[in-house]
Amino acid sequence: MDRQEAQSRMRLDQPFSRRTLLRGTGAGALALGAGGVLAACGSGLKGSGPSGSTGTITIGFITPLTGSLAGFASGDKFVLSQIRQSPVYKNGIKIGGKTYKIAINVQDSQSDPTRAGQVAQQLILNDKVDLILTTSAPETTNPVAVACEKFGTPCVSTVVPWESWYGGLGGNPVKPTTKFEYCTTFFFGLEQFLGTFEPMWNRIHTNKVVACMYPNDPDGNAFRFGFEPLIKGSGYTVVDGGAYQDGTTDYTSMIADFKSHHCEVYSNAPLPPDFNTFWKQASQQGFKPKIATVAKVLLFPSDTVALGPLVVNIATDSWWGPYMPNHSSLTGQSAAELATAYQQKTGNQWVQSLGSSYSLFEVAKEALAAVSDPHDKKEVASALQTVNYTGMCGPLNFAAGPAPGVAIMAPVGVQWKKGTGKYPFEMKVVDNSLNKKVPIEAPLEPTNA
């Protein structure tokens, strides 16, 4: 009885009996062993299988249709409808005497890097796409590019500073010698940001002290380590507000820091909601820089809603707009016509990402037209590296960029002005230092007089 009692008490105290533990260990060892045997005979693996239908070229398009980056993709459905009506995408492309149909498979990244990587892998392995196009911020483009490089599928990215893209793939933007076999990008970089912003700073009389609000994220770090040295190099003083976390809701200490250093110029690269919070608090707490040049925010009309009149005379960069003297290489349509068609069809104000998303498909066509077999991913990838054409985003030369596979666009400086027509605020060109072909539309005015 005593023994039985002792036994049962022991069993109450011990979660597992020794026998259960041994049995579990045995089963685990067996499972591991079986795994080892399976792994050893890797030759019979099925792999990703044959590529899809040989008469059709499949293009994957990954864009954040939903989530926090959805503003970037607001014009993408319209762009797709335009692209699908263009002769090449409607009737097929002739390569080596054979006409291939082109299918476009659109996937939503949900503004989630994890989802972006997953849909990229699915497009490559399941849908057997020949080429992937992706757009809108490193959160979308970088996981996609990593998957493309790993699984050997040609990829074109845009709307990501090339340094953020290059660094995300594991390259060093300061010494850009690494060539990625499958991935290319077209956009601009920190040098073009400075080339757009500095002339505007110079035209406003300031004490040359720049308040820098860069978060600890891919874009923020690219600005911190790449842009601040450039600012200093051009004779300005930098006051870094610190590597704050995305989603911060109280900027009091940063604003106090900027005020105590008497910053009269303001530069940033935050997430749009964070800028809204910051700018409202700055206005309440009396931080009123003479000129504010923002990056990554206020790129689209929808961003202006939250701040209302506070956006007037904030300056930013513009890589595309109806004022660009560019024409589609697919249809000959002009930038102004594309913007007007968008406004008529959707009733919404034009967005800059119309042009960049449009050009993704132009670049794809240029590369496909230069190969002998569109299903040969290595051949398509190497054709992408040398694409050199002029289209909706102006001249793009992938062979002559600051890093291999990078083509640079020429942005202009714009300011948000009170709208004269249907829309409350409009983007107007105020500085064309980098792209003289674009006409000036309005005078540059101080953000806070």
Binding site: R19, P218, N221
Partner: protein, 357 residues
């Protein structure tokens, strides 16, 4: 006393057998349970052989499936059995991912790093448990979330981990075919192991304690059940489980950034899957993961409508089927695939009776 081995069919009831023992049969397994055990062995065998049968597109999808299944099972163990509702399990997902990154950047194979990172998460779970063990319900949930955010902030300050920019995972095999197959096998093995641990845990005496805690924590405490130490064990198991899911996540993505690894979306997915599948059952998270995946694969292309559909499903389940889809099935047909409960039936023919747990 009989052992608690998996095939015991005879009486293995609680220590104090009720006086009515003569009229009542207590069993752990039924025909449906035994059939399920056989089916599980068969399914695992087929799944293990899958990379030889299907193309890597399918196995790649299953990697995501099993990773979510592991996470949901762990959340179910925490919330459904130990009464610990956490919205901060992404802390361990992220730590597992960065654990693999740390080891891989020092030359370890990422696949060998998976078990090490998992164990590290269990160890890190101890100080975390010390912090949160005295908190209950909402306080526990929010503190876990805070801890996850603290982990994210710390990781994003470390330049060798890529800071807030994120970084690729070095040391993976270059051959895509081998890489997807290896990733798949690693994920399958971890999922089987995780579900096996949950199953054995619930079959053991701990399971009895957990079932008591699940049904009434105060009641369990008042009859002398050691609630605290049991909850600690479950918390550490769930920490390791979420850690292994994070480790598998970085291996399958080959890229990690703190905002994605420590995203609260992980917790949202775990909760959604467990709630629609059926909380407090082993089968629930499996059914839930299947439903979530079917919804994702069929509806994700519709953008915003997909999220609206997810919300409607969650609301419908919360209102009309509070024990989830598996609750409906189990009640309707009286089946249970994993024999972790006890069936009480009048002495005589045992089958087709509704059991009580």
């Amino acid at each position: 006393m009989s052992s608690l081995g998996p095939d015991t069919t005879a009486a293995a009831g609680p220590p104090s057998v009720p006086p009515a023992a003569a009229q009542v049969r207590v069993t752990r397994a039924r025909r449906s349970t035994l059939a399920a055990a056989a089916a599980v062995v068969l399914i695992v065998a087929v799944l293990a052989y899958l990379p030889y049968l299907v193309y890597s597109g399918t196995t790649n999808l299953l990697v995501n499936f099993f990773t979510l299944l592991i996470m949901a099972s762990m959340w179910n163990l925490l919330a459904g059995y130990a009464g610990l509702v956490s919205v901060g399990q992404q802390a361990f997902v992220g730590l597992g991912a960065y654990g693999v990154l740390l080891l891989a950047s020092h030359g370890t194979s990422p696949f060998l790093a998976i078990p090490v990172a998992t164990a590290a998460c269990a160890v890190l779970g101890l100080p975390v448990w010390w912090l949160v063990s005295r908190l209950r319900s909402g306080y526990f949930a929010i503190t876990m979330w805070v801890i996850a955010s603290v982990c994210e902030l710390i990781i994003s300050q470390i330049p060798s981990f890529g800071g807030g920019t994120g970084t690729g995972l070095p040391g993976l095999p270059g051959n895509p075919t081998l890489l997807t197959a290896d990733t798949y096998w690693a994920t399958l093995a971890c999922a089987v192991l995780a579900l096996g641990v949950v199953y054995l845990l619930l079959r053991s005496r701990i399971g009895l304690v957990l079932t008591a805690v699940r049904d009434d924590e105060t009641g369990a405490r008042s009859v002398g059940v050691r609630v605290a130490s049991t909850q600690r064990l479950v918390f550490l198991v769930a920490a390791a489980g979420c850690g292994v899911a994070g480790a598998l996540y970085i291996v399958s993505q080959q890229f990690v950034e703190p905002t994605a690894a420590f995203s609260v979306l992980w917790s949202a997915k775990m909760i959604f899957i467990t709630v629609i599948g059926g909380i407090g059952t082993i089968e629930g998270p499996i059914i839930g993961t299947i439903i979530y995946f079917v919804l994702q694969q069929t509806l994700a292309q519709y953008g915003t409508w997909y999220f609206i559909a997810l919300g409607l499903v969650a609301m419908a389940i919360a209102i009309w089927a509070r024990r989830g889809i598996w609750g409906l099935i189990a009640d309707r047909f009286g089946i249970r695939l994993f024999g972790v409960g006890y069936w009480l039936s009048p002495a005589g023919p045992p089958d087709r009776d509704r059991g009580s747990r």
